[in-house]
Structure formats: C-alpha cells, structure tokens
Symmetry: C2
C-alpha cells in the first residue's frame, strides 16, 4: 500500500534518536541532573549575534515582498557571490558564482549531488566511520553504496580505498572534520586519496567526483590544519551547511559548489539544477540567503567547544579511557571497554551516560560522545564516567 | 558523466521562465512601461504585517538557540497542533497533530507524498490543465504519470478520469483552485471523483489516494464555495504551502496532512516520515514553523487580486476575448485567437504582452494570464490587448 522502504525508514527510529528519547524518559525517572546526554550533534553554542542582527536589519531595509519572495532557483546572485568569494579567498580557487547552488542545508545538498551524478546504479564510496544518513541519501537516489573500512587508527585506509574503486565508481563522500570521530584527515592522507582518484579516473576514462561534505569546516582546534580538498582535486563538489558554523541547523541553509577546475563543470552544474528541480528543492530559504550574505565571515564561538573537548579528553584519559583526541567537529571517539560497543553503551546508561555505539557509523569497538553540551554537564558527568570505568575492573 | 535526465531538467528552461527572461530583455529595449509581464505566478500582494511582527517578537521571546535549532523531524508539536486545529475547524475533521508533517513548501510535500506511496512504478493521475512540475516530481520518484484531459469547459472529464484508473493507480493529484485555469471544481464534480475513487478502490482491493494540492485554498473569490475534499474522501493527503496565502514563497514552508479517516493512516504517515528522511527534508525551517503557528489565521489581502481579476476579465470580455472567469488563484485562462496557442502567445509579444501558452499545462488553445501584478500594469496593458485582438481581424 505504501513504499515499504520508506515505511521502514520512517518507522525505524535511528539508534541516536532512540537514545535521545530514552534520555528524556530517564531524566523524568531519576532527575535530569543524573542524566548526561551526549547523544545528539546539536550545536550547544549560541548563533553569533550577527545572525539575529542581520534578520532585524533585513526586515527593516527590504520590502516585505522581496524578503519573503522567491529567489532564482539556484539562489540570489549576491549570496552566491559572497559564498564564491569566501571559498576563493580560503582555497585559492577561482569559482564563479555561476557554479554555486544554494540549498536547504547539507542533507539537501548531498541528495542533489548524488542525484545529479548517478546514471544507473553508479557506486558512491563512503569511508568509515561515516554519518549513517549517507547510506539513506545515496540509496534513495537509486545509486549503490560502497563502504570502505578505516584503518586501526580510524584514518582512511588508503589501500582499501584504492581497492574499492571500480569502473562504476561515480563519487566518494569525504567528511573532514569527521562526524563521528572528530578526526581531521591530514594533508598526506588527502593527497594519497586525490592521487588515487586521479589515476583511477584516467584508467577508467571518466571522472570520479569527490563530494566533500564540510559542515564542520570551521570547527577545527589547536593548530590543526584542514587540507583544502577543493584546491587539491579538480573534480570536487563542496557540500556545505551553516548549521554548525553559525549554529543555525533549523534554518536549513547551505550550498553546493562545483570546482572551477571540475571536468565538465557546466554539465555538472546543470545536472545539479535539474536534480534540485526534480527533488522539489529550487530556491533555498530566501531570508537566510540574505542573512548568510551579511554573516559570511561571522563565526560561532568555537572556544566553548574547544574547552569542552579539552575537559573531556583529559579527564577521560586520566580515568584510563583510550580516546581519539578530536581535531575538529564536536565529537570524541572513545574505545569501548568491552568488545561489543553496543553492550558498552548499554552499560553506560546505568551510570546515566548516553553515548552512541560506533556500530551505527560503520566501525566496531568505539562510542561517540557528542560534547556539544554545557561545560557543566561534562563536569558533572565525570564521576559517572569513573563509575563506568571501575565497573569493568570488578 | 552526469545523469542525463537531470542534465536535461537543469539545462532546459521552462517555457514560463524563458518568457520571463525575454520580458526583462524586451523591457531594456523598448522600456519597462511597454512590457506587460503576466508570465509568473509570484504573489504581488504584500505578506500580511503579522508575518514580520511574528519574526521580530519570536526573536525577542525565544533564546537564539531555540529559534535557530532543529525541530523534530516532522516539525514542532505546537505548530502541528495549530495546523491540525485549523484544518479540523474548516473541514469538520478530527486530524491529530501526529498526522501533520511540516515541509519546506508544496514542492517538497508533493515529492515526499509520491515517494511515500509509490511502490514500483505505480501510476499517479494528473488532471489537465495541471502545474507542469507535477510530471517532474512524479517521475523523479520513480512513479508513472497518467494524464487525463479535461472537458471542453476545462472541467474534470469525469468519464475520462474513471477510464484512466487501473489496478496500478496509486493516487491522483487534484489542484483546486487550479493553476493554470483559476477554476474551482464544484461540489458535484468533486463528489463524482470521490465516488469513482471509492468504487475503484473497492474493485481493486487497495486504496487510491487523493493528493490534494491546495496552495491556493485561501484565494477564492465572490461567493464561490471550495468543496472540502478532506471531508468528502477518506484517503486524502493534503499538500499545502503558505507561499500564496501569506505571500511568503521564499520562506519554504507548508505541510502534509493525512486524513483522520485515511486507510492505514499510521503506515502512510510513517512512510511520509521515511520519504522526508530519504529526500533530505527532515525539519522544515524552524523560524517559519514558529511564524506559521502565530499567523495561522493571518490572511493576505485577496481583495487586490479580486480587483485585478474583475478589471481583467471585464475588459478582455468587452474587447471580445473569450475568457474563463476565474473562481480562485490568480490566473485567468483566455482562449487563443488562433488554433495554435503558442503562435498566439508569440504574436502577443509584439504588443508587449507576456502570457503562457496552455500547451505547457497539458491543454491546447488557451493562454494563461497570471494577474498577480500591479493593478496599474493591467490598466496599462488593456490597449495592448485591444491591439492584439484587432490584429486578428485584419
């Protein structure tokens, strides 16, 4: 009667969402102060004040019909120009606004990009650990998901990556800073990936595209350098969202950018326009296109995330946990204290700690701690983490 | 290298968009005052002042993280409650907020609904004259489009409709008030359609759904009564957008509502959730969810549209044109003065009149005049319409 696959997607809650709901029930039972919810990747830092200031001044300056009217399908030229200028400044590229497509966030962008590129069950590679919805988005566009496992240090397994590429590979999604691991893939790794893609594109006589999913681009800590895939690999499509960098996930605004050196860039951009149309996505929210234009250099306060990161990493390490020190995003990967990380996260619940087993992200043996929470929540959770650790010594 | 179908959709401008661009070029050549652009269905009436007032007060009352944060996938409960209450009040139904799914406008809603229902190349009926993107949306979800022609008075051809239903028919899109004809299908017609659907659903042993696309629901003139499909047919899914009723097309906000009497409504709603997820549509723009909640009874000034309608209809009729008097929306269908309405619209361009041949909407022999323009534009265009009419007497 209905599409069974859609029914399945709609009725099966994601593991993350399930945990979040459990947390709410548990808080009602034992008190909110005894539940430490690290399940969701929802920004905990306020949007920069420029966002609301921009809204208020736009409402004053523009006629109401203009603010709330349609933009062109691909977005306002002025917004696309601001986006292109910033990309060019930061990546030393020369992208024209004519290759920027404003979207309702990164999920929309990913769906559009895959739909634009997929011919007939083409393969798209995702690299573990990965954001689980990648699979949903790729399959929903009629394409095939190919998973590549990571190496022991949660880095991209370059050899496994090379081996996974076939003549049907149309693209690979790279997500750095990474959700869920917090890892920033280094220059050497990205260079190796790009070299492989170039040689395989040549070997098969057709371009393999990188879809660089970069919602966490601005969330990088210490002296970590984020390699610019855009400047390193020609056939790159950037998929960006302002959800994390401006803490505005509800406003559904982001963009797709096609590299100025992308093979057949006109055709790729036209197909992106077509996919936007086919998926009902033309004209990203206009008020927020105008906001982005004015807030193009605004920054959320990443020091708060960095403080959380340091507090959590240092204390968990001191307790005895084996943690991957995050370079970016707002996630920390901690090694499970037993082989089965699902069982580990279940046991963590007894101490009030809600963390997500890495199995959801295509990797075994870890848990994801989303530290986009109040500093105070982390402080209060530390005895619970100690309790959990000690429970494994018995 | 890319998906050819998407490339085609992205590179082929729609006839309407093409005309709009021509108008801009022509205005530069002969002066904007000599071009009468009736091509686009873009609201010409300001949003009600409540919209901007709501934005400003929401920014003051809510914390910035709440305003710009995620809602649940299907939308805020409070917003869904406001939507359900209004629907129930107006249709004498009993829909729970748990069957409302907030979407980024009607295009998103249509894509989601078709994706949710389509099993394997199911058939979806569209009734001429129709909004051309219906075909794009249906095909993009892997379903099959079945067109049913209208009768000579542009009404639904009930017999042709009955004959078009097969065991593969999953749904029919009904759009009343209609874009492009401005027609409101009357009670008798809708009743006949519902009776056929009920008997065919029984005959084939599976429900046929009505997707009632109602963005123009509030734009109804004189004493016209808009029949409530929701209260007349159980298996109805409403697809709504606030783009026209509040003149906020850029804000991308609308909803899907599943009838409280819909067969398997839980399954249908779950599949809608799944399709929203698969198409990257979870969480409609949150600020505008909050705005809708506060503006649920706000109205755009439809008297301005009504004045335009009367001015245009009376004058064109006086000149000698054969017009379908519009009951709703902001379109007027005028009979072509020659057999080929594409040639007619081409000749209209010589008089500076930009109108869309009905061929784009699945009907021959008419042109669509979008009268969502300044009153003054219509006044100034009347001599040009006279000139065009007279040119056919030579």
């Amino acid at each position: 009667m209905v599409n069974e696959k859609m029914y399945g997607l709609g009725s099966a809650r994601s593991a993350i969402r399930e945990l979040f709901e459990f947390g709410k029930r548990r808080a009602a039972e034992i008190g909110a102060d005894k539940v430490y919810d690290f399940s969701l990747g929802n920004p905990s830092v306020e949007p920069p004040k420029e966002v609301n200031e921009a809204i208020v001044s736009i409402l004053k300056e523009f006629g109401s019909k203009d603010v709330h009217g349609y933009s062109s399908a691909q977005g306002f030229l002025s917004t696309r120009k601001a986006v292109a200028d910033k990309l060019n400044r930061e990546n030393n590229t020369n992208i024209s606004p004519d290759y920027i497509y404003m979207t309702a966030g990164a999920a929309a962008g990913l769906c559009i990009a895959v739909r634009a590129l997929n011919e007939d069950k083409d393969e798209f590679i995702i690299l573990a650990p990965y954001f689980p919805e990648y699979k949903v988005f790729i399959e929903a566009q009629g394409a095939k998901v190919v998973e590549v496992p990571c190496d022991a240090s949660l880095n991209i397994d370059v050899k496994a990556f090379a081996a996974a590429i076939t003549k049907n590979t149309k693209g690979v999604i790279i997500n750095s800073p990474n959700n869920p691991s917090g890892k920033v893939y280094d220059q050497k790794t990205i260079k190796a990936i790009c070299d492989i893609l170039e040689s395989k594109s040549k070997e098969f006589g057709s371009p393999i595209f990188v879809i660089s999913d970069e919602p966490y681009r601005e969330l990088v800590y210490s002296n970590t350098i984020l390699p610019s895939i855009l400047s390193m690999y020609d056939n790159t499509i950037i998929c960006y969202s302002y959800s994390k960098s401006l803490s505005i996930p509800g406003d559904r605004i982001g963009y797709l950018a096609v590299s100025d050196r992308c093979y057949g860039k006109d055709k790729v951009y036209a197909a992106i326009n077509g996919a936007g149309r086919a998926l009902g996505y033309v004209c990203a929210p206009t008020l927020f296109q105008l906001v982005i234009e004015r807030c193009i250099d605004a920054k959320t306060n990443i020091f708060d995330y960095d403080k959380n990161r340091t507090l959590l990493y240092e204390n968990l390490t001191n307790i005895g946990y084996d943690c991957l020190k995050p370079d970016g995003a707002f996630y920390l990967f901690v090694k499970s204290l037993e082989k089965d990380s699902i069982a580990f996260c279940e046991r963590a619940k007894n101490s009030g700690i809600l963390i997500v087993p890495s199995d959801s992200f295509g990797v075994k043996g870890y848990a994801r701690i989303a530290y986009c929470v109040d500093y105070n929540t982390i402080e209060r959770s530390l005895p619970a983490f100690k309790e959990l650790f000690d429970s494994y010594k018995k």
